[in-house]
């Protein structure tokens, strides 16, 4: 019997191994200190910005290695961290508040590798330092507010429709109870509510001889309220994260009421919490059309009016009197106009807002109304050197700044009431952005940090070093053992084991799965367990040799018989790993990811790759004995 692999099997092995090396390669190149510039709400980064940045740095006599535009961000590389830090300050001064200038590490992957989509592994915050928050949206509060709104709406609707009710009362956890004069009024009320407030489900009951209706918010509407509360918070968090000057912030939904915020490199967690926890509100004001904008800018705004900044740049003059506030907005949803098909935002007001809206719009047809987005920004007061100013008690002095931005200022076409729409939007994205911003005041469900994991930069560095060291030492120990114990076959197993490491790194790089410290532990464990397959095979081969079989037959039977066992053993381990992946959270997940990948790649290397090598070495000839 001769052990030979057909050519196609080698081709398949090569087809996995060669890309494996290619995709693992970027991890060898390290990272350069860099600066990333991103535009905030009002500005975008383009080639002109890049040029401006380069000129500013040249003027200071500073040099950079590369400058590029990627995904709307400008990225500059520097040869050392000193230049990087100085460049950050120069650029921040040059570009001003509208841009975020963040320190970052840019992978120095060569261009040809980058064009293949190869990139280094994505390191978790426990390896590179930074802040991780898990925030919980208080949907119960959002639901309570919705019920309170419906309670008010029910009263005003019934009153307007002249339904004679006795009381409307919210019963926590049950719904809104409506007590009516008689059964006829109840039928009447039912018809009215079903027409005007279709989101409510109605049940009839009697108590003490009086007819009642119990109104509850329909499941679909409940889901919608929860969804909006989450989306609105995500939008607000994204806006605020931009201010922190982080190169690669993550704001991501997790489950149906949680948001993950990750801020690599951030160390001042107190400041991060303050910025993320800010409250936004909306105010609706009338546009001052009697006075000239230009003269208001050049001289001073006329009494009773005030200049505001537009979110997308430019200024606008508004009458300094709040018509109604974002609290009165019940809902804002992006959609399409039923007639023109153009993108619009549908807005629904509560009853108070509707009454005001009706009056104001009736009086002001043809004029413009502006929606202003307001956030209170608290900042540490700094002296000329950029150091924080302390008060007598040694506490940091903070100043609060009110940030006001006009997000839209549409013309009033008609007398409006409870429901209306904003038209003339550029595209669906604009409609979506606008609706999310409009909801900011409306459905602001409180948000709470339920988990914080912050790792300082020194621990991050230690974690990488310790992780690397344990991988290498563990790896070397196993290699030495295998070579001593199985000699030539052990050496083959070592090749497979090394290849296994390469493939794990390649898979992590390719999928850009996050590598965490428990993930590194998973890799170490895989190294220890991956040789198991080879131990099984080699022990089988020895056994066959002892039973008097020829070397070639022993190799064949050894691999053959061990295969089923290896498969069973690995599938069961994979089950445990997948359960971890599905149910586990945070650190556990990182471990499960590398363990699962490791099991898959080790099957390949320990069985097919070693067999391929063994066949090449021993396959085509007669053997008297094996060094095993």
């Amino acid at each position: 019997m001769l052990n030979r692999y057909p050519l196609w099997k080698y081709v398949i092995i090569a087809a996995i191994v060669v890309p494996g090396f290619l995709y693992a390669l970027p991890n060898l190149f390290g990272e350069d200190p860099g600066v990333q510039v991103a535009g905030t709400r009002t500005v975008t980064v383009d080639t002109a910005t890049l040029e401006r940045m380069e000129n500013a740095l040249s003027a200071e006599g500073m040099s950079w290695t590369t400058a590029s535009l990627e995904l709307g961000n400008a990225r500059l590389r520097f040869k050392d961290t000193d230049t990087q830090l100085k460049a950050r300050d120069v650029l921040q001064r040059e570009l001003g508040d509208n841009y975020t200038v963040a320190l970052t590490l840019l992978p120095s992957t060569p261009g040809w590798l980058g064009s293949l989509g190869a990139a280094p592994m994505y390191l978790g915050l426990d390896l590179r330092g930074g802040v991780h928050f898990l925030m919980q949206v208080d949907t119960a509060a959002a639901l309570k507010r919705a019920e309170e709104r419906y309670e008010a709406d029910l009263r005003s609707t019934l009153r307007e429709e002249r339904v004679r009710y006795l009381t409307v009362k919210r019963v926590p956890d049950r719904g809104i109870e409506i007590k009516l004069r008689d059964a006829a009024e109840r039928d009447n009320g039912r018809t009215v509510i079903e027409r005007e407030l279709p989101a409510l489900a109605l049940d009839e009951f009697e108590r003490d001889g009086k007819p009642y209706l119990m109104a509850t918010i329909r499941q679909q509407e409940l889901e919608q309220i929860k969804k909006f509360a989450l989306e609105q918070n995500m939008t607000a968090l994204r806006n605020r994260v931009d201010e922190l000057g982080v190169a690669e912030p993550v704001v991501q939904q997790q489950g149906d009421q949680r948001i993950v915020v990750q801020l690599p490199g951030v160390q001042d967690t107190a400041e991060a919490k303050r910025i993320l926890g800010r409250v936004a509100t909306l105010e609706i004001l009338m546009v001052d059309e009697e006075h000239d904008l230009q003269s208001a800018i050049s001289q001073s705004p006329p009494p009773g009016s005030k200049l505001f900044r537009y979110r997308r740049g430019g200024q606008i003059l508004l009458k300094d009197r709040v018509v109604y506030s974002g609290d009165n907005i019940v809902d804002a949803a992006a959609g399409f106009d039923s007639r023109t098909g153009g993108p619009v935002v549908h807005i629904t007001l509560d009853s108070r807002g509707a009454t005001i809206n009706q009056r104001i719009t009736g009086e002001n047809i043809g004029k413009r109304m502006a929606v202003v987005y307001i956030e209170l920004k608290s900042e540490v007061k700094r002296d000329a050197q950029g150091n924080p100013v302390l008060d007598d008690q040694g506490e940091v002095v903070r100043t609060t700044r009110r940030i006001e931005e006009v997000i839209t200022a549409p013309v009033i076409r008609d007398q409006l009431g409870k429901r209306f729409q904003i038209e003339g939007l550029d595209d669906v994205n604009e409609a979506r952005d606008l609706s999310l911003l409009l909801r900011a005041g409306a459905l602001a469900a409180p948000i709470q940090i339920i988990e914080e994991r912050t790792v300082g930069p020194s621990l991050g560095k230690d974690n990488i070093e310790q992780g690397m060291r344990s991988v290498i030492i563990g790896f070397v120990l196993v290699l030495v053992f295998m070579v001593v114990y199985y000699r030539m076959f052990g050496a083959v197993a070592c090749v497979a084991l090394s290849l296994n490491l390469v493939l794990i790194v390649a898979a992590l790089s390719l999928f850009q799965a996050t590598l965490t410290l428990p993930g590194v532990a998973g890799i170490v464990l895989t190294v220890g367990m991956a040789v198991d397959a080879n131990v099984l095979i080699f022990e089988r081969i020895r056994e066959e040799l002892r039973n008097g079989n020829s070397p070639q037959a022993s190799i064949h039977v050894g691999y053959d018989k061990a295969f089923g066992t290896i498969l069973d053993a690995n599938v069961t381990t994979l089950i445990a790993a997948l359960v971890l992946l599905g149910i586990g959270s945070g650190p556990v997940k990182g471990f499960a990811v590398t363990l699962s990948i490791g099991i898959a790649t080790s099957m390949f290397t320990a069985i097919w790759v070693t067999r391929g090598i063994v066949n090449l070495m021993y396959g085509g000839r007669r053997l008297k004995e094996l060094t095993i």
Partner: protein, 335 residues
């Protein structure tokens, strides 16, 4: 090279009664400890705040505590970890809504005696503070902050328990499907045995039980099962191959045949685990500890627990005769 001689013929199953007593004693001691002392849950499961800092020179725990007490953190537990420059501060959950702020307040309280205020926002390798009008490296460097809200902690604990049970159940199904229900029960009894003993050790020694340890326990399940499956596989094979010999003899023979592999794999796994234990750093320490215990107990159980249970359930050759030729569906996968 051979560490264990070629053909061992140890009567493992003959010692099953003694070993059963040993296992039961270990499990019972573990269970008693679990009920009496409980587990020393980390803040991931109880909720709370952990702040780890590194000072630029050695500090006394008493001083740090005094600073914290002055800042109204009287409930803080202060400990060294590593050197006398490294301080870990643990705080229980507070009822007020702002418990997420505690970590930040603790840090600024620790910096207050030196008049230090953090200045560097993002980036950089060292935290910079302003002190008396100039910017210097902070005396107190934040290493790690962990805060878990009480509700979330409870949820993590529940999810963790659920994960353990789900893993056990799914493995039971797989083994029952691939082998036979008697083997499945044997495997799961062995796994439960391993997990209980590992939990017992963590309870007895009051080692911190956190999410990493939980992950390690699940890995132990995977690992120990791996060992058990290899033995079972050989038992199945021998039942079909060896026409003579009692069930008892065949099983004993199978354990002996796989003994070297069992021990060798445990050895290589232990090698890397020791590397993790000594070099992996404090975050990985508990994880490595749990796995080392698990691998030792798992190796023992695959020999002395899993097979005796299967034997006790009355396995016979008839249970093992294939309906169709085993391995037909694997033919295309063969190397």
């Amino acid at each position: 090279m051979q560490i264990i001689k070629q053909d061992t013929n140890i009567d493992f199953l003959g010692k099953r009664r003694i070993m059963a007593i040993l296992s039961i004693v270990l499990v019972v001691v573990g269970l008693v400890s679990l009920f009496v002392r409980g587990l020393n849950f980390g803040i991931e499961f109880t909720g709370g705040t952990l702040v780890e800092v590194e000072y630029d020179q050695p500090v006394s725990i008493a001083d740090t505590r005094a600073t914290l007490v002055a800042a109204e953190f009287g409930d803080a537990v202060v400990q060294y970890f590593g050197t006398s420059r490294d301080i870990a501060i643990r705080l229980p959950v507070r009822e007020d809504a702002d418990s997420a702020q505690i970590s930040s307040e603790v840090l600024s309280a620790l910096r207050a005696p030196d008049n230090e205020v953090l200045v560097e926002g993002a980036g950089g390798r060292v935290q910079r503070c302003s002190r008396d009008g100039s910017v210097v490296d902070c005396r107190v460097q934040m290493r790690r902050i962990e805060f878990i809200g009480p509700q979330f902690g409870k949820e993590l604990a529940e999810d963790g328990g659920l994960a353990l049970l789900a893993a056990l159940f799914m493995i039971l199904l797989y083994v029952a499907f691939r082998f036979e229900w008697k083997f499945a029960i044997g495997a799961v009894v062995a796994l439960a045995h391993d997990v209980l003993i590992a939990l017992g050790v963590f309870s007895l020694l009051q080692l911190e039980f956190n999410q990493s340890v939980l992950a390690a326990l699940l890995a132990v399940i995977g690992y120990s099962l791996n060992d058990t499956i290899v033995v079972f596989d050989r038992i199945r094979e021998n039942f079909r191959k060896m026409r003579k010999g009692s069930t008892f003899e065949i099983m004993n023979k199978s354990i002996n045949q796989t003994l070297r592999r069992t021990l060798l794999t445990s050895l290589t796994t232990l090698l890397v685990l020791l590397a993790l234990f000594f070099l992996g750093g404090e975050v990985i320490h508990g994880f490595a500890t749990a796995l080392i215990i698990g691998v030792l107990v798992g190796t023992y159980s695959s020999i002395f627990v899993a097979s005796p249970v299967v034997l006790g359930l009355g396995i016979s050759r008839d249970d093992m005769m294939p309906v169709k030729k085993e391995g037909v569906d694997q033919e295309s996968l063969l190397p």
